[in-house]
């Protein structure tokens, strides 16, 4: 089974990621059993069914957002999810960093926030700072060290609500 970095640990990843293929529709795509991350359109089309599935089958539920998705659309639903995934189709597309920031600092999401897609070890430090605590990344054993590339930061971020100038008396 694939592994991921979660809470600074390397753990088995038993979640399934639901993708909509070209001939799938959110309304009709088949939902596999087990812990499941669904794309936002599937959540929006079938929320009653998905919540019932979680209750009745005890299969944990998560949603994942694409860069163009607005996190405000799930702001009222955060308690329904054990995991929120944010997809990085390209590492250079940095919208996911702002989406994560908003989920953590504005909408108050406290569950697992998972980065996946074109995510490499050199992105982990910044991803961690904007609120991600889980990372689907190649060679997690090697990558994990990059969480600590920097030991201090000037500005406030999701993992540190106070900027440096409010935390230390600096001469």
């Amino acid at each position: 089974m694939a592994k991921l970095i979660k809470n600074r640990d390397i753990v088995e990843d038993n979640w399934k990621l639901l993708n909509l293929a070209a001939n799938d529709t959110p309304e009709t795509v088949k939902l596999p059993v087990g812990p499941l991350l669904v794309p936002l359109p599937v959540w929006q089309a079938r929320r009653t069914e998905l919540v019932r599935r979680e209750w009745e089958q005890h299969d944990p539920l998560g949603v994942w957002l694409a860069p163009e998705d607005d996190p405000a659309d799930i702001a009222a639903d955060l308690d329904d999810f054990s995991v929120i995934g944010i997809h990085f189709p390209l590492a250079a597309d940095g919208r996911g960093y702002s989406i994560a920031t908003l989920l953590r600092t504005r909408y108050g999401y406290r569950g697992e926030l998972r980065a996946f897609g074109d995510v490499g070890r050199d992105h982990l430090h910044y991803l961690h700072r904007v609120g991600f605590d889980a990372f689907v990344v190649q060679q997690p054993e090697l990558a994990i060290a990059s969480l600590d590339d920097f030991s201090e930061a000037y500005q406030a971020a999701a993992n540190q609500p106070l900027p440096l100038f409010r935390r230390t008396l600096r001469a």
Partner: protein
């Protein structure tokens, strides 16, 4: 100037370690070129025509003499002995090998220097007025605000993968020597009716392929909100800026397509959530940073220095230099001096390692060991006693740093162009030299007066050709280099974008064309009028005719050239 503490220093050394590891992984094949590219760019490393180019950060253009010596050291050891001061107040080295880049950065870190965010789709080095703190008409010193913004933007985790690069400038007041209107975001210091300090906020300026001047986003922003407001702007841009086309990805395109009112509405809506939050500046922090830029212990000096006045009267070369390269200082008896990096035959902005060492030496002996780099690619010693100007001048002249041409036609702003840059269509440096050769008579130059001539080797416009009174843009026509001329650009608060006057010219046609435009200016000029003012008064037609041949000037010039 800002002095690093243990935390600032640790961040830079951790960055060196991170980049050393990334470079290593790239060299052993664990990181592909595509994966490595954004990482090396955020450390200022480009892959260029001959070797990688390393762009070193000079935050808001302020250097200590010790830092200048460190720059000279790496220029000598790792480069071929010449560095290029850029229009964004940074230093570029053209002969650094990829393998050695981490070593160069480790060496520079010892002097609190780095290349952090000098390229890439992130917040770049912040620029400001080279006369900050000593300028006469300053609302307040912009350096503390530039430093506060430098810290905020350094390793900002949310804004490292923006749609495109993001350039920020801070201006000290109404004179706007930092050119806020050609930046993605500009903060111009101002005071409101209650005399509170703050900023007029400009957004959406930039040159390049689609030149646009910035618009006012907010008439007045109290100083304590500068970081939360910047965060709101950057978040709106990061989420909504275009990513499908890199030529449409700068914030100027977003502002233009939404309209400034709608963009402002979105920023204000975002800011509502952030305003008065923890990133709001405190009085204590503003004071702590400002303390780093406190004025040195200036001496009480007389307004007139007899020796200086005497030398000016009796040495015409010295007085020509004073007229162009020496600037008024807010403290009596002092002056700010521009050391010209535009000597005849010198590539604009280039300095040898020996010249850098010499400048460090001069800064220590004739000032408070501080040096500024300028947006126009020269160096400034900000605090020289008038009584020592003559001595300084002789030493600077011996080092080739005293060409009396600041603000004149040969104070050409130019990118490195096709000799070095892999983006360029045309070579800027030989053209700059040809123009300098044609206008080598200092008396004639001084008579022509204030003049801004800018050359860019391609549409990326690193030479800011759009805002030159005369702008020259290198273009490629079926593999041949040609130059397009724009006319009527201007800097600062009078900023204008120049307009193309006609078909592009071959390289050898450009200097005579400029000559004829200058001659046309002299025909129509009113006493002491600047080129740009004559142009704006009479319009471009006669200048166009002077270039393309429907003018008596052209006939005369042809005859003169034919002998």
């Amino acid at each position: 100037m800002y002095r690093y503490n243990e935390i600032d220093r640790r961040m830079v050394t951790e960055r060196v370690a991170q980049f050393r590891d990334q470079t290593h992984r790239h060299l052993v094949g664990e990181l592909s070129e595509d994966e490595f590219r954004p990482l090396r760019l955020q450390n200022g490393l480009y892959v260029e025509r001959h070797a990688p180019m390393l762009r070193l950060a000079i935050p808001y253009g302020v250097l200590s003499s010790k830092q200048m010596r460190a720059l000279a050291g790496v220029t000598r050891t790792f480069d071929r002995g010449t560095g290029h001061f850029s229009t964004r107040q940074n230093l570029q080295l053209n002969w650094i090998s990829l393998e050695q880049a981490p070593e160069v950065l480790a060496e520079l870190a010892k002097a609190d220097l780095h290349a952090i965010q000098t390229s890439g789709a992130c917040i770049r080095n912040i620029t400001t007025d080279p006369l900050a703190g000593v300028a006469l008409r300053e609302v307040s010193d912009p350096r503390p605000w530039a430093e506060i913004l430098r810290q905020w933007s350094t390793f900002h985790p949310e804004f490292a993968y923006l749609p495109r690069k993001f350039k920020l400038a801070v201006s000290g007041g109404p004179d706007d020597a930092a050119n806020v209107r050609i930046h993605d975001l500009g903060f111009q210091l101002a005071r409101d009716a209650q005399d509170e300090l703050g900023f007029r906020v400009w957004v959406g300026g930039g040159l390049g392929r689609t030149p646009i001047l910035a618009k006012v986003l907010r008439e007045f922003l109290p100083w304590r909100h500068v970081l939360t407001y910047a965060e709101a702007i950057l978040r709106v841009y990061n989420l909504h800026g275009r990513r499908d086309n890199k030529y449409k990805a700068r914030i100027k395109i977003l502002v233009h397509s939404l309209g400034i009112e709608e963009f402002a509405r979105q920023v204000e809506a975002e800011w509502d959530h952030l305003k008065d939050g923890p990133a709001t500046l405190t009085e204590a922090e503003a004071d702590r940073i400002a303390e780093h830029f406190a004025a040195p212990d200036y001496e009480n000096l007389p307004k007139f220095d007899t020796g200086f006045e005497f030398a000016k009267r009796h040495d015409s070369e010295f007085s020509a230099w004073v007229a162009r390269n020496v600037h008024e200082h807010r403290v009596t008896g002092y002056a700010a001096v521009t050391l010209s990096l535009k000597a005849p035959g010198q590539a604009p902005g280039d300095a040898t390692a020996e010249q850098m060492d010499k400048v460090a030496d001069l800064a220590e002996r004739f000032g408070y060991a501080e040096i500024r780099t300028t947006v126009a690619q020269n160096l400034v010693l900000p605090d020289v006693k008038k009584s020592e100007l003559f001595k300084l001048w002789r030493e600077a002249a011996a080092a080739g740093l005293a060409t009396p041409n600041i603000g004149l036609l040969t104070d050409i702003v130019a990118c490195p162009g096709g000799d070095f840059c892999s983006l360029a269509n045309a070579r800027s440096i030989p053209l700059a030299k040809a123009i300098q050769d044609r206008f080598s008579d200092q008396v004639q130059l001084a008579d022509i007066g204030e003049f801004k001539l800018n050359i860019s080797g391609c549409v990326n416009a690193c030479g800011h050709h759009h805002v030159g009174h005369i702008g020259i843009l290198g273009v490629d026509k079926q593999g041949e280099e040609f130059f397009q001329i724009t006319l009527g650009g201007a800097w600062g608060m009078e900023a204008e974008l120049g307009k193309v006057i006609g078909p592009s010219l071959a390289a050898e046609e450009v200097p005579p064309a400029i000559d004829r435009m200058v001659a046309n200016f002299q025909v129509f000029r009113r006493p002491h009028e600047r080129f740009i003012d004559t142009l704006n008064r009479i319009g471009p037609e006669s200048f166009r005719d002077a270039v393309y041949g429907n003018s008596p000037i052209h006939e005369y010039a042809k005859e003169a050239t034919n002998g």
